[in-house]
């Protein structure tokens, strides 16, 4: 397998072609935009939690094949996991991508390991995961790969203004 075939494994191309849970969620607990202003990618990750458990994860938006496939895999991988387990998985993905020493993951996610050889593409693969992390921790409605300095709305504020009809 060449490095290129490893990066664009069939499973990655397939997730990109037919992304899972690629839809608008009817009644999410919150949504977080993951944006990479440098390449124009924008993936909105929505979650519905049942207590501490992620009942449902979906995403929409546009990005490169690596970003879309990673987001698609993520929505499948985190459904049914608790908040803590999902954050641990986000750490594991990040570790696998940023420090090549990280443990390889099971299932489709293992196919993302090859991205670690492409430093300029790591941010693509982590985009949806960073949105997930922000949503689960601070409840931010937007997270950027670049430090944008501006204060971010939270899920609570967004839900509040939705209730007030804004």
């Amino acid at each position: 397998m060449t490095a290129l075939e490893a990066l664009y494994r069939d499973v990655v191309l397939e997730h990109n072609r037919r992304p899972r849970n690629f839809r608008r969620m009817a009644a999410p607990c919150g949504c977080t935009d993951g944006v990479n202003p440098l390449c124009g990618d924008r993936l909105m990750v929505c979650l519905r939690l049942d207590g501490e458990t992620i009942a449902e994860a979906s995403f929409e938006g546009s990005g490169c094949a690596i970003a879309v496939a990673s987001a698609s895999m993520m929505t499948e991988a985190v459904a049914g996991r608790t908040r803590t387990q999902a954050l641990a998985l986000a750490d594991a993905v990040s570790g696998m991508l940023r420090e090549r020493s990280g443990d390889l993951l099971d299932g489709d996610l293992a196919a993302l390991a090859a991205v670690s050889a492409y430093p300029s593409r790591v941010k693509c693969a982590t985009l949806a995961w960073e949105a997930l992390r922000a949503g689960l921790t601070s409840g931010a409605t937007r997270v950027s790969t670049e430090d944008e300095g501006a204060p971010q709305d939270t899920w609570a504020q967004a839900n509040e203004s939705a209730r007030n009809g804004h």
């Binding site: 060449t2 490095a3 290129l4 990066l7 664009y8 191309l13 990109n16 072609r17 202003p37 440098l38 390449c39 124009g40 990618d41 924008r42 546009s62 990005g63 490169c64 094949a65 690596i66 970003a67 492409y118 593409r121 693509c124």
Partner: protein
């Protein structure tokens, strides 16, 4: 199309030219490098690399005011590079040639030293939709500082400036027109002399961002009639970190210095300092001497070439590259102006530009993907990113075919 008369174009020995650029002769990912990212930064011939090394090996000392031999040599090399730039631009005097770090710094200099003291609340600076961030942000900063307004000349879908809108937008309050001579994302060549005439009829000065023009077009600031012209060394086969602001002497004379420090002063007391003459008034601190020497050598090399033949060759590369990309299903060219330099931006229906870029790199082909520092322009076109192939005279037709094959392979990978 080239601004040189076509009938004088002769056949170019591209292999001989390529032999002068050491970096081109290497393998990337097991394939011969096909360098098609010249609009981001061009490569330099060996003589430029040698000139920089020789300068540091034999002649370096700080410039001006030194009484020893090396300082004298460094000063002569530095100032002779300035004379080369003046010749390259057909400037009337080296007093009009100011060294900067590049186009960006040159535009910031004009924004802060020329525009800022003159701008009143309600005054206007005119730019266009196709500008590079370097010709947007400095004006945003100065309009914020002064209460002036930034007005934007729209473009047509082809990537050509809307000339009617340009004329309409030239108003009572317009204090400066700042436009790219050539668009980095689209390749469009703007009708520079006509733009200057229209602005000057209303007494409005004109700055050109010439970063993309120099490698492809003859630059004659007197014929253009503009008031400021900015360009970067690294796009003109010279080093990074060096560039030039050319300005009309009468305007530069009236402008206050921008940066303060050594070199730009005549006398300093704790109460008051007096400024040095042009061009030194705008060159605070020890300059990028080696950069200037390298750029001077690059321009000498470039001016010694048959530039009409280089431009004619680039035009054939542009025509073939356009054909190859148009022939591939699912690809669409962004920027189809009649008058273009050898830059082809394109998007694929189903493949993100970054994926194209990575896959092409695996086949040795270097293109740029992203917003090319023209976010507002791509937003106007409704695309988040484009892939851009930008050719220099040292590119070959064979390389364009390799690009076509590499693109075909990339598209096939993503096909269902």
């Amino acid at each position: 199309m080239s601004a040189y008369p076509a009938e004088t174009a002769s056949v170019l020995d591209v292999d001989a030219l390529r032999a002068e650029f050491p970096i081109l002769h290497q393998q990337i990912n097991g394939r011969p490098l096909v360098y098609l990212d010249n609009a981001a930064s061009a490569q330099r011939p060996a003589c430029v690399i040698d000139a920089i090394a020789d300068y540091y090996r034999h002649d370096h000392a700080n410039v001006h005011r030194g009484v020893h031999t090396l300082s004298d040599r460094a000063t002569r090399a530095f100032e002779s590079a300035r004379e080369t730039v003046a010749r390259f631009l057909n400037a009337t005097s080296t007093r009009e040639v100011i060294w900067t770090r590049g186009t960006t710094e040159a535009i910031n200099l004009v924004a802060q030293s020329f525009a800022r003291p003159r701008l009143q609340a309600g005054d206007e600076i005119l730019i266009s939709t196709m500008e590079h961030h370097a010709n947007i942000v400095p004006w945003q900063m100065v309009t914020e500082q002064t209460g002036a307004r930034l007005r934007v000349v729209p473009i047509h879908r082809s990537g050509e400036l809307d000339m009617d809108a340009f004329e309409r937008l030239l108003g009572e309050r317009t204090r400066l027109v700042a436009l790219s001579h050539v668009s980095n994302s689209l390749g469009t060549i703007n009708p520079a002399a006509r733009l200057v005439n229209l602005a000057h009829e209303r007494g409005i000065p004109v700055l050109f961002d010439g970063a993309q023009a120099g490698p492809h077009l003859p630059i004659d600031v007197q014929a253009l009639g503009c008031d400021f012209y900015a360009f970067s060394g690294h796009k003109l086969f010279g080093p990074t970190g060096i560039g030039v602001l050319w300005g009309r002497e009468s305007l530069l004379e009236a402008m206050p210095p921008w940066h303060g420090g050594g070199e730009m002063i005549r006398t300093v007391t704790f109460e008051k300092s007096t400024w040095n003459d042009l061009p030194f008034k705008f060159e605070a601190g020890t300059p990028n001497i080696a950069g200037a020497v390298g750029l001077g050598r690059a321009l000498e090399w470039f001016m010694a070439q048959d530039r009409e033949a280089l431009a004619a060759h680039e035009d054939t590369l542009l025509a073939r590259c356009t054909e190859v990309i148009e022939a591939l299903p699912g690809l669409r060219i962004i920027g189809t102006a009649e008058d273009k330099v050898s830059v082809v931006s394109f998007v694929a229906d189903d493949v993100h530009a970054h994926d194209l870029g990575t896959i092409l790199d695996h086949q040795g082909v270097a293109i740029r993907t992203g917003h090319h520092c023209t976010m507002p322009l791509l937003e106007w076109y409704g695309v988040p990113a484009t892939a851009r192939a930008s050719m220099a005279f040292y590119n070959t037709h064979e390389e364009i075919e390799i690009l076509g094959q590499a693109l075909e392979r990339a598209l096939a990978m993503f096909r269902d």
